[in-house]
Amino acid sequence: MKIPESGDPYLEGHKCGSCGAMYLGARSVCSKCGARDQMQLTRLAKTGKLYAYSIVHRTFPGIEVPYISAVVDLDDGATLKGNLIGIDPDPAKIKFDMPVEVVFADALGRKDREGNSYLSFFFKPKA
């Protein structure tokens, strides 16, 4: 995730210049085709479709439930996992391939040891 001096935050990916495979996080070698030093920074799409999900009711201590863990295929080919918000955690309402958008908001009030707040990304059904 990138937060520029001016303008909106965005998600950044690394795309293999040789085979087009998309990665999150910096790397030098493509694990799909093995090409070296071909990675290109790319700004990820802001919209995508819900590929798969789970509604989490039990997790590690201190984490609030329920939440929807969503696997989203962004429109440019990258796949991300994140919380799906703005919809009831009800399997009858959540549809595969429903269009979603990437939104940025405070990281659920979570703070690190120094008391710093964080910004996170979420998926929200597209209006």
């Binding site: 990665y23 798969a52 009711h57 984490i63």
Partner: protein
């Protein structure tokens, strides 16, 4: 090429043994396996020991300190939930290579209760529940939902896997649980991570299993061929690149790759297999693996569970031991425990749960991260 045989194999009854140590648990299974073939630790030329929780703790050597320090080479193996299968395969590899004629493989694990892993600490803030979920139930729930999106597989169909496997374990005295769980009980159990309820999660238990593997020459020399089970195929794969790898561990592709190689190595196909112990770490996973192992065409796994084809007495019984869901899943022991189960059926010694006429069986495990281990065994 040298043929390798399982001549002795056994497991302890899975359960919770907080007062025992990991080496003590491993030693129990090792002695059972040695007794199963009437051999002693002095016959063993090498030990391959699988354990995850104490992967840096020299568990194999500590087991020998319990049952006999003969100075043999010990290899300690860790490969997630494929740990036991990997230890077994290393033992098999050494015999196939002609390096040794008689070796011991042990898988052992002592588990806590509850979810594996943690919410993640270190610097920054926990990512669990912020960037989706990384819990094992959620990961396998999502893998199941991928099957749902493709083929319309329902929560009820996934739940039926648990009904079946819990029923099977009522016939297995070495399983953690011997209790029936009807469909409504499974579906109404605590929802952990939709569509996975508590009864659709494998049971964290302590356990151990061990196998003695011999070359054919040695097995004949020792007069052990009568109950010997031939290893027709041993395959290990890792996960080939997949487009959703980074957020969605892929248990399908590495299984399909391993199954293809295993059938090729054995010169057999899915129709030749009489029973399978596969990696039902969550009920959703079993459905995926029906297709991954070629038991049915893609998209037909839901029908297979509906029609009872994979239940004891069905066309291809799956997890008659009760599986990880009900026998229990001591991570490092599982891969050898399922070899024990299949070998026991092939020997015709499985009692009430015996798959009648079983001649060829398959075992399958997945270690997330990922590793897939498949073995095909035959009673010759």
């Amino acid at each position: 090429m040298i043929d390798a045989y399982v001549v002795g194999v056994d497991m302890i009854k899975f359960g919770r043994f907080p007062d025992k140590t990991v080496p003590q648990l491993g030693a129990e299974a090792a002695l059972l396996a040695l007794d199963d073939c009437g051999l002693t630790i002095q016959h063993m030329e090498a030990l391959y020991c699988g354990n995850l929780g104490q992967a840096s703790g020299m568990v194999g050597q500590r087991i020998l300190q319990q049952i006999g320090q003969t100075g043999i080479p010990v290899v300690n193996v860790a490969n997630a939930c494929a740990t036991g299968a990997t230890a077994f395969r290393e033992a098999w590899t050494a015999v196939k290579a002609g390096l040794y004629d008689c070796v011991l493989a042990i898988g052992v694990e002592q588990m806590g209760k509850g979810l594996l892993g943690g919410a993640g600490g270190g610097s920054g803030i926990p990512k669990e529940g912020l960037l989706g979920s990384g819990t094992m139930p959620a990961v396998f729930a999502e893998a199941g939902m991928e099957h749902s999106r493709k083929y319309g597989t329902t929560f009820e169909q996934f739940a039926k896997v648990s009904v079946k496997n819990h029923h099977h374990s009522t016939l297995n005295p070495k399983a953690m649980y011997q209790m029936e769980t009807p469909l409504d009980v499974v579906m109404n159990a605590e929802m952990i991570s939709y569509p996975v309820t508590k009864l659709m999660c494998s049971v964290n238990v302590d356990g151990s299993a061990a196998a003695v593997i011999c070359s054919e020459k040695k097995a004949r020399e020792l007069g052990l061929m009568k109950r010997a089970v031939k290893v027709r195929a041993s395959v290990l794969t890792s996960d080939p690149w997949q487009e959703r790898d980074l957020v969605m561990p892929d248990v399908n592709t590495c299984t399909r790759l391993a199954a293809k190689k295993a059938y090729e190595m054995a010169g057999l196909g899915p129709d030749d297999i009489d029973l399978i112990e596969l990696h039902d770490c969550f009920a959703t996973a079993e459905i995926l693996h029906y297709e991954n192992l070629g038991l049915c065409a893609d998209g037909e796994a839901g029908r297979m569970i509906d029609t009872g084809e994979t239940a004891l007495g069905g066309r291809i019984p799956v997890n008659v031991s009760g599986g990880l869901l009900s026998k229990g899943h001591p991570l490092g022991a599982t891969g050898i425990a399922n070899i024990y189960e299949v070998a026991t059926h092939l020997r015709g010694e499985a009692g009430k749960r015996q798959v009648q006429g079983a001649r060829i069986g398959m075992t399958h495990v997945i270690g997330l991260g990922s590793a897939c281990g498949i073995h095909i065994l035959e009673k010759v």
